[in-house]
Symmetry: C2
Subunit: 290 residues, 2 copies
């Protein structure tokens, strides 16, 4: 039986809770004492390293948002690579939030880029606008068991109404068509935990929709963004989980910038840890109260 990465992620959630630490590291987030005497690239990596060291044992995984690194060009991507290398060496699970969406030879190149070589991650996020052939080129990696993807499905930004939320003549919303298709495609890559290696990015919206999405897509592992800074609450998030598993909940600024609330710049990593624990426990509590 294939040993799927999704099982590893599931087990991490069992052991450490649902928190996914988002390393969306902007230069402006980094305290001065970390910046001093370091290049931008070094400062970003040092900041990430201290955050990772302070949070790994209370987090299921780390999501690295590549846009923040691309914004700094080659220097930024050196820090991106070093961060992924550090996470991999520690045995941590990496979700590369790249939202690539292309087909055929181009998608094969993205697969090579982010499942192999300098920018290797365990999971990547994908955008399905061009259709299922924008997911297929990644399947050979899923087949081997070592990699997984999260397709955008239903996000919680206002613009989600524009496309994802359109009603189709087939009595489904666009996002439901996407969810159905990735569920079908994912069946061949189901781990022993019952979830498939093709997960979905599902933003927290409102109670009724949360319940419906969770029960309709019981084999889909969710990457749930938007906790904290973007307004998601523990009670809402709990509805998107199955007994506290079946998904990870990302917080980026909420964790990285926890130190700013109390002016504890020197203790930014400790503040991140405290925030991650608080978040983990709040969601655990909310899950109990469902």
């Amino acid at each position: 039986m294939t040993n799927y990465i999704i099982d590893k992620l599931y087990n991490r959630v069992e052991e450490r809770g649902v928190v996914c630490v988002g390393l969306d590291t902007a230069l402006s987030y980094i305290p001065d004492h970390i910046k001093e005497g370091r290049t931008d690239s070094e400062a970003i990596f040092e900041f990430n390293k201290q955050i990772i060291d302070a949070t790994w044992d209370v987090s299921a995984c780390f999501k690295v948002q590549i846009a923040y690194y691309e914004a700094l060009g080659l220097e930024g991507l050196i820090a991106y690579k070093k961060t992924l290398d550090y996470l991999r060496d520690k045995g941590e699970i990496i979700i590369a939030d790249i939202k690539r969406g292309d087909i055929a030879a181009t998608a094969t190149m993205y697969a090579k880029a982010h499942f192999d070589g300098d920018f290797e991650a365990d999971f990547i996020t994908l955008s399905p606008y061009m259709g299922m052939d924008s997911i297929e080129p990644y399947l050979p990696y899923l087949e081997k068991g070592s990699k997984g993807v999260f397709s955008l499905v239903r996000t919680s930004n206002p613009g989600a109404e524009d496309i994802e939320y359109l009603d189709t003549t087939g009595d489904k919303k666009v996002y439901e068509v996407v969810a159905d298709k990735i569920t079908e495609m994912g069946k061949n890559y189901t781990g022993s935990c019952g979830y498939t290696a093709i997960g979905g990015v599902i933003g927290c919206t409102h109670v009724e929709e949360g319940k419906k999405i969770r029960s309709n897509y019981s084999n889909m592992f969710f990457l749930i963004p938007g906790y904290g800074a973007q307004g998601g609450k523990a009670e809402d998030v709990a509805l998107y989980l199955n007994n506290g598993n079946g998904g990870v909940v990302n917080s980026s600024r909420g964790i990285l910038l926890a130190y700013k609330k109390e002016n504890r710049e020197k203790e930014f990593a400790l503040c991140a840890r405290e925030e991650a624990i608080k978040m983990r426990d709040a969601i655990r509590e909310a899950v109990k109260n469902i």
Copy 2:
């Protein structure tokens, strides 16, 4: 009056024809004599440079597909940057085919990455799945006039049926909803040529649809992929243009690998030029015959 980049592109099409040279440069495309004595990064750049030098005066612009460079990690991205720098220094118009699709702070980071700094391009491609707030963060750059975007609208891959081609209850297909929205959004960024700085990626499909899309979206500039290697023909492409303008037609492998048809490895750049001219003239002829 703002001097829009879309006017520059329009004028280039008037002067040089509709060909967009796609620099989707895989290592396997590069002849041995270029590879010899060079690192991968140097070989890619040298190949691109010779293609650019041989085709710029018969092409409207260059589309650089970042996936091919990402696939080689940092080395690849050094070649990507050098290629963009070279194009910019020559005054050529660059479309960075990145198909990024994210929102808010993340999209702002992508804008910084690809409209500024190391990876600066004139146009970028975007994926609209998350909605119009995945396009909005780029608008401040469009406002200044110097930058433009192409949103995915209707592509010609089989998977386009999965989402883009779904019928919505509003009597429009998903791609038509997208096209309507970007048309509306683009109005504020209309150049003196009549086209807006928010173009659309429109694949060649079939005659009737081509005519309909062209007439429904008369102010949208089209980026038309799929010529040659992917099966698009001059007669089809001509229908997506307005009197031979209003769009650029991309060919990547068709041009880069033209030398393979005749085993003229040493003359790969000349073969690329011949192919670009052949393509330009075939489309010009087809436009006359509409």
